[in-house]
């Protein structure tokens, strides 16, 4: 039984000494207790097996030369790198009381975690990907070269302001950050949250809802197990949304050792997922990162407009999008795709410039069309509730689309609409309604695989609405529309396919413009 240990600090990693370390929001805990978490998380290294036979002291017999086989000339393609494990912190020498020593590094307490994960994920996904350590000093910051950065640890994460700015730029270009509080250490978790708050001040860290793709994309992760120190059975992932994707992800409880198929024997206070749970979550993270890599890249692009659209929009149809306290900007650039199609195919003159309005503060009276979307919960201020009611009563059309089609947003929409229209409820839009027959006769549409998986025979468009003065003034799509407009694939999104979404969008625009 190994219980005691001795730790000797080696010089900090050369790659990380450049610049001034800053401790961002480090909890006011004493260094001694934090260092208690800085131990090898796996068992002590096994002694090399000894050869047991009578002739071991003698050299082996010589063997005859065997012919060299022809090596395959065609080189095997190198597996592209998906995850870079970020090198940070310090390295120390650790001696086991029972004999033997090893090195411990802040960044690499579970040395085989990512490597193991990539092997498992590759088997599930049918594609081969690799990983490698990344020193931020040498990191290109290009998500196309390295879509995910993985940062794990137990002690306070210490990154310089420059490094955090580098990580922000990487995320804004489409990259994804994954933080693993590898033993459930509060020091690492709290410092990461503080770093995220400082680095992404405009975005809030949100708890991912149970129906988020990250819990289902490769394996359903509804229930999990913690070997010790935690009685719950639900996973906890938190993230920062950028567009429709989770660009920054934190696992409060340890994943790494489970990914390496082992327990954490040397930290009695550790909180971590068991092997099965960790692997399901881990593979999901890889699948999600892969599935949304192109989304990140596309949504990172600036929206392009023709020169005339740079002025205040004066066209007859202006796409005004409502800002709220949830993730309101789900599909940046998708509206432009619809509007280009509108301009191309319809007689309606639509401005390509999407404008963002705060319904509680901005004047909505000049608008005829408002769009609202989201991914999770949101709450409208009272002023916004009043303004929106006024907008609709004044003949405006409010289109609401459920970004990725998630349940949390659906519930929020119904709740907030009940506040705006306490006297009425959303009603299904019948197939023969004018809305579905203005440009295209949409008796049948196509849905994304996630919808078909649950409702394989669903072909009718599903829209709900609230009529005011005989016309539909509120149109709600429980399924994602905007993702289809963009023409991109959003894995596990419950929505319409691209063709159907564009046709529905054009019907809606035409209806709003003519009613």
């Amino acid at each position: 039984m190994i219980s005691a240990h001795r730790r000797t600090f080696a010089p900090p990693c050369a790659a990380l000494v450049a610049g001034l370390f800053c401790l961002l929001g480090a909890p006011a805990l004493d260094a001694a207790s934090e260092n208690d978490w800085f131990v090898p998380l796996g068992p002590p290294p096994k002694a090399a097996p000894k050869r047991i036979n009578g002739g071991e002291s003698l050299p082996p017999l010589p063997l005859p030369a065997t012919p060299l086989r022809r090596s395959e000339r065609k080189k095997q393609p190198a597996a592209p790198k998906l995850i870079g494990k970020v090198v940070w912190g310090e390295t120390a020498s650790f001696s086991f009381d029972g004999g033997g020593a090893t090195e411990v590094s802040d960044w690499n307490l579970c040395p085989a975690d990512v490597q193991q994960l990539m092997g498992k994920a590759s088997r599930v996904l049918g594609a081969s990907y690799g990983s490698e350590p990344v020193a931020l000093a040498n990191f290109s910051g290009d998500p196309a070269q390295m879509p995910v950065l993985f940062i794990s640890g137990t002690r306070t994460l210490r990154l310089s302001g420059e490094q955090l700015a580098q990580l922000r730029a990487y995320v804004m270009r489409g990259g994804m950050l994954v933080f693993d509080s590898v033993a459930g250490s509060p020091y690492f978790y709290d410092s990461v949250k503080a770093a995220i708050a400082a680095t992404f001040p405009e975005d809030r860290l949100r708890t991912l809802p149970a129906d988020h793709p990250l819990y289902h994309i490769a394996a359903d992760v509804e229930k999990v197990k913690f070997p010790k120190n935690h009685d719950g059975d639900t996973p906890l992932l938190e993230g920062v949304y950028l567009g429709s994707r989770v660009a920054v992800l934190i696992s409060k409880y340890g994943l790494g050792c489970g990914l390496d198929d082992r327990e954490v024997p040397m930290l009695p206070q550790a909180v971590y997922y068991d092997v099965d749970s960790a692997n399901r979550i881990g593979v999901n993270i890889v699948a999600y990162a892969l599935g949304y890599a192109h989304v990140g890249e596309e949504e990172a692009k600036p929206e392009l407009f023709a020169a005339r659209d740079e002025h205040a929009p004066t066209d007859e149809f202006v796409f005004a999008q409502l800002v709220h306290d949830g993730a309101w900007n789900v599909h940046p650039g998708a509206a432009a795709a619809l509007l280009r199609q509108v301009n191309h195919d319809l007689a309606v003159r639509a401005s390509l410039k999407r404008i963002a309005l705060d319904p509680a503060k901005d004047d909505l009276s000049a608008r005829h069309f408002l769009y609202l979307t989201g991914l999770d919960d949101f709450t409208l201020p009272e002023a916004a509730v009043r303004n929106l009611r006024r907008f609709v009563d004044g003949g405006g059309t409010l289109l609401i689309a459920n970004g990725l089609g998630m349940a949390t947003f659906d519930a929020a929409v119904r709740r907030e609409l009940a506040r705006i229209f306490p006297e009425v409820r959303l009603q299904p839009v019948p197939a023969d309604h004018a809305l579905l027959n203005t440009v295209y006769h949409l008796a049948e549409v196509r849905y994304t695989p996630a919808v078909l998986a649950k409702q394989p025979k669903l072909t009718a468009p599903v829209l709900e609405g609230i009529q005011v003065g005989g016309d539909l003034r509120v149109i709600y799509s429980p399924y994602d529309l905007e993702g289809g407009w963009s023409g991109m694939e959003f894995p596990l999104s419950r929505g319409y396919d691209s063709d159907s979404a564009l046709k529905l969008g054009m019907d809606i625009v035409m209806y709003a413009a003519t009613h």
Partner: protein
């Protein structure tokens, strides 16, 4: 011409004049014939017939011909090895193969000694062992059929090795090993070896074979001897018929290299028979016999000196009853390049040939059955095909000439230390490229194509394809398959000779029966080529319609469905194409989330590979998606990435055609501007600036506010040519 050397058994006087010699020899021959009993008549007739068909038909012109029925004899002189020895070994190179060759060895003193063949096979030299216990250092070895009458003799020296092709059978016990050995076939070869210490098969591929070493230890010191076997895979050792050691089953050599598989036997001075069986599956092979001598603390490989010696002899010249043969030659496999150690795998082999007795001033002209030739007393020739190959040599000395033609068995040099030495391959390639491929027979072209495909060497394939084009009619029947392969090879990214590919595939389809599988495949691939390289929908549809579908296998039928969809799409019928793709089948239902995830992963893998600049690696996942779900060909996601792959590899016709198909398939697709931009890039890369400008003009006119249009405006092409409307 060379006469007899050494003592003449007849005691007749040597003649200085060739003419006089011929006269006397003729007389001697006739005397010999007349001296035969009547029953010998048929033998005489056979000898004449043989002479007419290969050997010189001259009269018996040599003296001291001790074995009347022999057809050829060789002077055999000691060359090396330990001496004295109770046995000698020599390799003979007869002028032709005999159905059942036998050998008789006569010592210089005229006494016939015991002898037997170790190995003979069509096209191969004869390996002979014979009794040297009387101590003679020079002999004559006679070759013929039914040369009985030699003294009884058994080889009791050295180690004789026989290897056979392994059959699938367990080797966990002695009994199982014996069963395996009894059923193993064919025999790959026999030879004499110096010790049991082999890391390869001496007679064939070094996988899936089994060996039996039978030798004689010569023990001087009595005492207990500890023998060990080290092997990969199984091995079994017996001495004097007693089971001593075994390493059964399939395993590596490492578990026995400290003598773990050992056994002791007390040996007395004298000869002791050693039998060592070895069985090899796949992977490295080791057969090794070690011993620990009395009083020693460690094992060592049993050295050659521990076995009773066998002296080696050299074959110095050939004579027929008609006289010396100046065109007699010896041959050996010099070096080879093997792509795969399996039997039948393609290999290029260089054979070293030399006149056995090159007279001063002799001019030798070699002719090979692959349409090439060479000059010189010793030459090395590269054969593009294995098997029995015909070699002819004509030797002129002054005004006289001699000619020998025989088949030799060309096989890889099995004892080469490396299967595919790069330097050897480069030299062989230079040799092949320097040849006129038009002189190659279809029989030689086929394995060469096989070889070039597997190296791969696209330049060689291109040359072979170009050579096949003007004489495609020569490749009829079964050989037409070669046109199909070459037609596909010429479409390879590094060759891109689509017109030649089209011609070869067309010729292939015409060369074989309409209903045959080769014709069906040729039409299938021709149809695909016509769509993807030439965008010729009517011609493609004609070829695809003519296919006898029942001649295609399952995968080919799937490909046919895809090509039919492509051809229909190229003709502008999107719904028809969709129907074909859907009828072809899909690997996943629309709601199959697992497949959707795998699809996404593959696309990302392809994108990542493209980002790394590895277009070959990017192609695989994309092809896999379209193979599993052909209707993807109506979309743009895989198509746009494939266009990037093809553009990077300069396969512009493929890239251009795919862009056109995507524009047809998805007129309202959100990615249509991207397709037009991709088309502009393709045309620009292909050097077709006008076509590129047209694509850009169309993009900007139809999709003025698209991101693609914005990026197109940055193209230098647009600025230079004013493509903006």
């Amino acid at each position: 011409m060379r006469g007899m050397r050494g003592k003449r058994s007849t005691g007749e006087t040597a003649l200085a004049s060739p003419a006089a010699l011929a006269t006397i020899v003729a007389m001697t021959w006739w005397k010999t014939i007349l001296a035969q009993p009547l029953a010998a008549g048929p033998r005489v007739s056979m000898a004449c017939a043989a002479a007419l068909s290969g050997w010189s038909c001259a009269a018996l012109a040599v003296e001291g011909w001790a074995v009347p029925d022999a057809r050829e004899r060789f002077a055999v002189v000691r060359e090396g090895g330990r001496w004295p020895a109770s046995a000698g070994a020599v390799r003979l190179f007869p002028g032709r193969d005999l159905a059942t060759p036998t050998v008789a060895v006569v010592a210089d003193g005229g006494a016939r000694v015991g002898a037997r063949l170790v190995w003979s096979a069509p096209g191969e030299p004869l390996d002979v062992v014979f009794d040297t216990s009387k101590g003679a250092a020079a002999y004559h070895a006679y070759v013929g059929e039914g040369l009985g009458g030699g003294p009884p003799w058994t080889l009791q020296a050295g180690i004789e090795l026989e290897t056979r092709r392994r059959v699938e059978s367990p080797v966990d016990t002695w009994a199982q090993m014996q069963v395996l050995w009894a059923h193993a076939a064919p025999v790959q070869g026999r030879s004499l070896v110096e010790r049991i210490f082999d890391g390869q098969n001496r007679h064939g591929p070094s996988t899936d074979f089994c060996s039996h070493y039978h030798g004689f230890l010569q023990i001087a010191q009595p005492g207990p001897y500890l023998f060990a076997t080290v092997s990969d895979d199984a091995s079994f050792l017996s001495i004097d018929g007693r089971q001593i050691a075994e390493a059964p089953g399939f395993h590596g050599a490492g578990d026995g290299d400290h003598g773990e598989h050992a056994g002791t036997i007390a040996l007395t001075p004298g000869l002791h028979a050693v039998d060592y069986w070895h069985v090899q599956g796949s992977g490295p092979t080791v057969a090794e016999l070690a011993w620990r001598l009395p009083g020693r603390d460690r094992f060592e490989v049993v050295p050659p000196e521990a076995f009773a010696p066998v002296a080696t002899f050299a074959c110095r010249g050939a004579e027929t009853p008609g006289g010396g043969d100046a065109a007699a030659f010896a041959w050996e496999m010099a070096r080879s390049t093997i792509l795969d150690s399996d039997v039948g795998a393609p290999a290029l082999v260089e054979v070293r040939l030399r006149l056995m007795d090159a007279a001063a001033g002799a001019r030798a002209r070699w002719t090979f059955d692959d349409g090439t030739g060479a000059d010189g007393a010793a030459v090395t020739h590269l054969f593009p095909r294995l098997g029995l190959r015909t070699v002819a040599v004509e030797v002129a000395v002054g005004t006289t000439s001699a000619r020998r033609t025989r088949a030799i068995a060309v096989h890889p040099q099995w004892l080469q230390g490396e299967d595919f030495p790069e330097a050897v391959w480069h030299a062989q390639r230079t040799d092949l490229l320097a040849r006129d491929p038009a002189t190659l027979s279809p029989a030689d072209v086929a394995p060469l194509v096989d070889y070039a495909e597997r190296v791969p060497d696209l330049e060689l394939l291109r040359r072979l394809g170009a050579a096949a084009l003007p004489r495609s009619k020569a490749f009829s029947g079964a050989a037409a398959g070669l046109l199909l392969r070459l037609g596909l090879d010429l479409q390879a990214p590094e060759v891109r000779d689509y017109q030649a590919g089209r011609t070869l595939l067309t010729a292939c389809a015409a060369a074989v029966e309409v209903a045959g599988p080769v014709a069906a495949r040729a039409r299938l691939h021709l149809g695909g080529l016509l769509v993807h390289a030439f965008l010729d929908a009517p011609a493609a549809q004609e070829q695809l319609r003519a296919i006898a579908v029942d001649q295609l296998n399952v995968d080919e039928r799937r490909l046919l469905g895809m090509y039919q969809g492509d051809a229909v799409l190229a003709a502008g019928d999107v719904d028809g194409a969709r129907a074909h793709y859907l009828a072809t089948g899909t690997a996943a239902a629309p709601g199959d989330l697992k497949y959707a995830l795998q699809r996404r992963s593959r696309i990302e893998e392809a994108r990542a590979q493209l980002a790394q600049g590895d277009s070959d690696a990017a192609e695989g996942p994309l092809r896999a998606i379209e193979w599993e779900t052909p209707v993807e060909r109506l979309g743009t996601e895989t198509g746009l990435l494939l266009v990037r792959v093809w553009t990077a590899r300069q396969e512009y016709p493929f890239a251009r055609s795919r862009c056109r198909l995507m524009l047809t398939a998805a007129p309202d697709d959100a990615h249509r501007p991207e397709v037009l931009l991709a088309l502009a890039h393709v045309e620009l890369a292909a050097g077709r600036r006008d076509a590129a400008a047209d694509a850009v003009r169309r993009l900007i006119a139809d999709h003025p506010y698209s991101e693609a249009a914005a990026r197109a405006k940055d193209l230098a092409l647009v600025k230079a040519q004013g493509a903006t409307p």
